[in-house]
């Protein structure tokens, strides 16, 4: 039986990936910094998933875990994933997103050299932010480990959302406002991104990791839309007219206006998305309605709502 270590397992992608792997019969070690994290309590209590406390910046702890457990696959999803917050905490961003990767790869090379390593990177790697710089560094570390015989790959994910996105991220804010019929202030609607559903994107990770050759690839739908399109899809799903005002103070001039990826490599591995943009927003709006009614932020039942499939 395959055993996989998923770091950052309490995050959006970690939850979807852990559950996807476990459903496929993989024994999942779900690494979370804080086992009392409400997301871990709500979404990682599932057959085949064992929650293990793990701070990826503690290389000694990572090494101890690899020594204790036979691990075939490592999915490193732990990250400070907010571009905006990376400006507030550049050192911590580099420590978690890049330095920890060096330590993890060293531990794999010395302790489990046959284990395969997936690094969650970003199509924004190398654009202008401490977050982007840290992801580019991690990609370089993955490439170097590969040159030394480790089966290590980086998947560069384009934007991917879901009902599990933290409430500070823009698409979740849009879904929430549309579901509640609240007016929403946004900085700039003419931002082009390739938005997908996290549940789709995590399915690409084991495909890359189990490919015949270790090759980095973008994980994206291949379709670019604007933030304005996201707004329209959300309010349409909610059955309400768009109610958005522009607030220049929220604009982020340092953010690139257009970021997407090349989906050809990942599609060649047999991956395709199951959600459309409309489906993604329909699901997010449906869950926001439940949240508004129940007042409960984290509930495993939200994962069963598939309004958009």
């Amino acid at each position: 039986m395959t055993t996989a270590l998923v770091t950052g397992a309490a995050g959006q992608d970690g939850i979807y990936l852990s559950r996807h792997l476990a459903a496929a019969g993989v024994s999942v070690l779900a690494g979370v910094r804080d086992p009392a994290d409400p997301r871990a309590m709500a979404y990682l209590q599932a057959p085949g998933i064992e929650v293990v406390p793990l701070d990826v910046t503690d290389t000694a702890a990572v090494a101890a875990l690899l020594r204790r457990q036979h691990v075939d696959e490592v999915y490193n999803l732990a990250a400070l994933s907010s571009v905006a917050l990376s400006w507030q905490a550049p050192q911590r961003t580099a420590a978690v997103n890049a330095d920890a990767v060096e330590g993890m790869l060293a531990a794999i090379r010395h302790i489990r050299p046959a284990a395969r390593f997936f690094q969650a990177s970003s199509v924004q790697a190398g654009t202008s932010s401490p977050y982007a710089a840290s992801k580019l560094t991690a990609e370089a570390l993955v490439a170097e480990a590969r040159s030394r015989g480790v089966f290590a790959v980086a998947g560069r994910l384009a934007n991917h959302e879901s009902p599990l996105r933290p409430a500070t991220f823009v698409v979740r804010r849009i879904a929430r406002a549309a579901a509640r019929g609240e007016q929403l202030a946004l900085g700039d609607l003419d931002v082009w991104r390739d938005w997908g559903h996290a549940a789709d994107h995590v399915r690409a990770m084991p495909l890359l990791l189990r490919a015949a050759e270790p090759v980095d690839a973008d994980i994206c739908t291949g379709t670019m839309v604007t933030l304005g399109d996201v707004v329209e899809a959300a309010y349409a799903a909610a059955g309400r007219p768009v109610d958005v005002v522009l607030d220049p103070a929220q604009a982020r001039p340092s953010d690139p206006q257009r970021v997407g990826g090349d989906a050809s490599a990942i599609r060649a591995l047999g991956w395709s998305p199951s959600y459309t943009l409309e489906g993604l927003l329909a699901e997010m709006v449906a869950v926001e309605r439940h949240r508004a009614a129940s007042g409960i932020e984290h509930d495993a039942r939200y994962l069963a709502i598939t309004a958009g499939r």
Binding site: A63, Q91, E102, A107, R109, H110
Partner: protein, 323 residues
Amino acid sequence: MTKRALITGITGQDGSYLAELLLDKGYEVHGLVRRSSSFNRERIDPLHLDPANADRLFLHYGDLTDSTSLVNIVRAARPDEVYNLAAQSHVGVSFEMPEYTASADALGVVRLLEAVRLHAPEARFYQASTSEMFGLTAPPQNEETIFHPRSPYGAAKLHAHWACVNYREAYGLFAVSGILFNHESPRRGESFVTRKVSRAVAAIRAGRADRLTLGNLDAIRDWGYAKEYVEGMWRMLQQDRPVDYVLATGVGTTVRDFCDLAFSHVGLDWRDFVDTDPRFERPAEVPELIGDPSRAAAELGWKASTTVGELARLMVDADIAAL
């Protein structure tokens, strides 16, 4: 009580040997690691990943060119002893990157001394100084010898040396400058001449290479075994008073003779394989460095025991084993 040491340059040759020594002596060891997008902690990984060291060896990312990171690390590590071994330590490279060399090797020491003065003033401070500070001055060189550096590296290290002396005299810091002559080992960086030679001997013997190109074969150096020199560093910080010391073997050897020692160990004649190329010579050469380690012998009880011949042989053997 457990002593805590902070080692900058812990991923280097001397840093990794010193970390081993201090862990053996029961220290809690904190190491400074420079951020990089390539692996640069190969030498320390076996120690760091050893479960026995999980709660007594800690790596911190930082950089001698970034004073904020130094302050944070000094505050986090609360060291009793600080060993400043981090440097851009390649003489040839310093001619290519004089400004970076000065920033890391000279100003970096000032940054670290300031961090220690303000946040760990009781800590004892070891500065890795170098025989390259003597440069053109005739041998044998000791603690009283006039300095005449001949490279951006030597000049930067001399600035650091005097900064160390100054913090001792001005602020009462227990700051010591250890003036070490060349010290080598199988962990020496691959661009340094002794390691170039030992690697080439191993490769030529295995049929994987047929030539070795070097610069000035007439340069005379005093080569010792790095593993022994880190013991001398530690002893300097255990003295009653902060005093600077030279560590050396006292024996000078030409690059040519080092080649002979290394090649003859595997039954080869170096003259059949070694070429010289003036491009490998430095803009200003240092002809002759031979240390006089008598103060260290008298006051520290420290003496180099590995001869240059033994050193060449153990380096060649290690590179053969690594092939």
